[in-house]
Amino acid sequence: MAELRTEELTINMGPQHPSTHGVLRLVLTLNGEIVTDVKPVLGYLHRCFEKHAEAMTYPQVIPYTDRMDYLNSMNNELAYVLAAEKLLGIEVPERVEYIRVIMCELQRIASHLVAIGTFGNDAGAFTPFLYCFADREKVLELFEIVCGARLLYNYIWIGGLSHDITPEFVKKTKEFIKYFRPRITQVNNLLSFNKIFIERTANIGILPPDVAINAGCSGPTLRGSGVKYDLRKDDPYSIYHKFDFDVCVGEGRYGVAGDCWNRYFVRALEMEQSLRIIEQAIDNIPEGDIASAVPKRVKPVAGESYVRTESPKGELSYYIISDGSLNPYRVKARSPSFCNLSVINQISRGYMIADVVMILGSFDIVLGCIDR
């Protein structure tokens, strides 16, 4: 009679899978349904951004930065442009700063809507996914009014912006703020406080705060574990110090601080805070130019700069080394999802496959950012 084999099963959640949020391959080692090891295999979306950046001039790199985290283009552009402006030593007019902040916060809302919708979709709740995307359409409409593009903008340029905003944009943004507030409550009632959803996500994938800081996690992943650190407040860039908003932290309202539900709920709370920032900014945009005097051919002095910004996924930083010529010598993009994903092995052990899907969704990764 044959021996009963009880060795571990290796399963491949392959690059094409409906819920790995991009082309990510996870090699799971299972003992029955319990996961004992998770090995992410990356590189399916590697597009050699850093090598390209060395062959382009400084303004030509901006469309490439758009495409890194494609759900988040405004924040990517802002991070790169801030690093380049630090190298050049230019100050931008205040009007530009206000508009940049409004765009980044609108982009934050759009990105969190995708995160929440797809997280619900992974859990099996199909309807909130469509509600979130319907709201996101409104945000993309606003972007289209300003720069003509819905997803990849090339809007924030070195020294200023590419187009000015129109009064129609201001009017529509105010309408959007009024429209969106009750929609957050609706999504919360439908998804966040749903008993089945809480059962699926609470107490799963607990990330202790010291592990998170040591591993370089940032953004909602870090704040979901209870660490109150937001780059917009702790290391302010642009004009975020002028606005009044709270830093949302996972407190363990359901489940434990550091589990999937709290990471997810931090995003739901952050949308409300972004709305507050937009409200404060939209009424007070000063008049002025939309670009400071930047020479046509951008040639910074030899040096380097490193700027950290808070993108919706976490800490997005650009490290630019310049050697005094028209092209950057080295551009390194430190992406938040890269560091967030690295802890997945540690925190998925001992849970089931269904939980691995939830943990992956709660990190909110975008493969474009990870693979660059």
Binding site: G124, A125, F126, T127, M352
Partner: protein, 352 residues
């Protein structure tokens, strides 16, 4: 009760061959339009329009989908267990279709008026487990094996609350025949079993027990037919379609139609047990609503509203995990149903 076919053709083999035909037509029509209804209802709930390209209301959509599936290439993976792989979808569909034999569409039309009707229904639909397991194993794919194992565990566990919550009605009626359930609940809406069944004023005590039983029967049959929130076997986001990963074309359509056919079959059973079957809610007050044709209308109306509730639940709630599913079955549903059976037993002892 005489079947209308034996009345027309005499009690011979011809009648018995012709009996399943109207049911088969109904099942096909229902399966086709239930898919469309699901898409349209889900679109309505999600603030969008469903299929409207084939014509204004998408009425031809599923027929054209079926045509598309028929002309797809039948791709089977490399080393499947061929006999079981080919037979599995047909076994699943047949098992569910056989359950339609005892559904009383009206007082003269029931395909087979077995006196163990309800028991036959639960047994026959369990044979689909065999089909699913065959599909899961023979596909030579780890994911479908996982899906198959989960499905078997789920269906077999949920048989118990299903049977126990139906047991309440069986105890009160004393029979297992489906036609008798429908006959007993005559006289209008307040004689339906959900309000305590035919009887005197003491049946008010039974009302909460009956509501709970019907709710549990509804939930368990959702789990039996693998509908969300219990659809982990076909969970798109985890196992990429579970058991029917490796099936293409018409075979996949068979699994699909089996699920929709089972939706209606269990709705029909719940209707007959708790909602009065083909009885009109107005009872004898409005006599012309009582005739055989109207009875079919009442039966379909009640069953289809239960199907609507099933579709509604699917698009609202997220999915539960396999161990939460098992916990819910064994630790919550079964004790509640046992308590229900116990209470109805006490009621019968005291008041009868």
């Amino acid at each position: 009760m005489e079947n209308i076919f034996t009345q027309w053709f005499g009690d011979n083999i011809l009648a018995y061959i012709l009996i399943p035909i109207p049911v088969l037509i109904w099942v096909s029509l229902f399966a086709l339009y239930a898919v469309l209804a699901e898409r349209k209802i889900s679109a309505w709930m999600q603030n969008r329009i469903g299929p409207n390209r084939t014509d204004k209301y998408g009425l031809l959509q599923t027929i054209l989908d079926a045509v598309k599936l028929l002309q797809k290439e039948i791709v089977s993976p490399y080393r499947t267990d061929t006999i079981w792989y080919n037979m599995a979808p047909f076994i699943v569909f047949t098992a569910v279709f056989l359950g339609y034999a005892i559904l009383p569409f009206s007082s003269v039309f029931i395909s087979a008026d077995l006196n163990i009707g309800l028991f036959y229904f639960f047994s026959i639909t369990s044979i689909s487990v065999v089909g699913v397991l065959m599909a899961g194993w023979s596909s030579n794919n780890k994911y479908s094996l996982f899906g198959g194992m989960r499905t078997v565990a789920q269906i077999v566990s949920y048989e118990i609350p299903t049977a126990l919550s139906a047991l309440v009605v069986v105890m009160l009626t004393g029979t297992l025949s489906m036609q008798k359930y429908a006959l007993i609940q005559e006289g209008g809406i307040f004689n339906w079993y959900i309000f305590g069944g035919p009887g005197d004023i003491t049946k008010i005590i039974l009302i909460p027990i009956m509501f709970v039983s019907m709710a549990i029967l509804f939930i368990s049959t959702l789990a039996e037919s693998n509908r969300t929130p219990f659809d982990l076997t076909e969970a798109d986001s985890e196992l990429v379609a579970g058991v029917h990963i490796e099936y293409s074309g018409m075979r996949f359509a068979m699994f699909f139609f089996a699920e929709y056919a089972e939706m209606f079959a269990v709705s029909g059973v719940i209707t007959t047990l708790f909602l009065g079957g083909w009885q009109s809610p107005f009872g004898d007050l409005i006599p012309f609503l009582n005739g055989p044709v109207m009875q079919v209308f009442w039966f379909l109306a009640k069953s289809l509203s239960l199907v609507f509730v099933q579709i509604w639940v699917r698009w609202t709630l997220p999915r539960v995990r396999i161990d939460q599913l098992m916990t819910m079955c064994w630790k919550y549903l079964i004790p509640i149903t046992l308590v229900n059976v116990f209470l109805v037993g006490i009621y019968m002892l005291i008041f009868n």
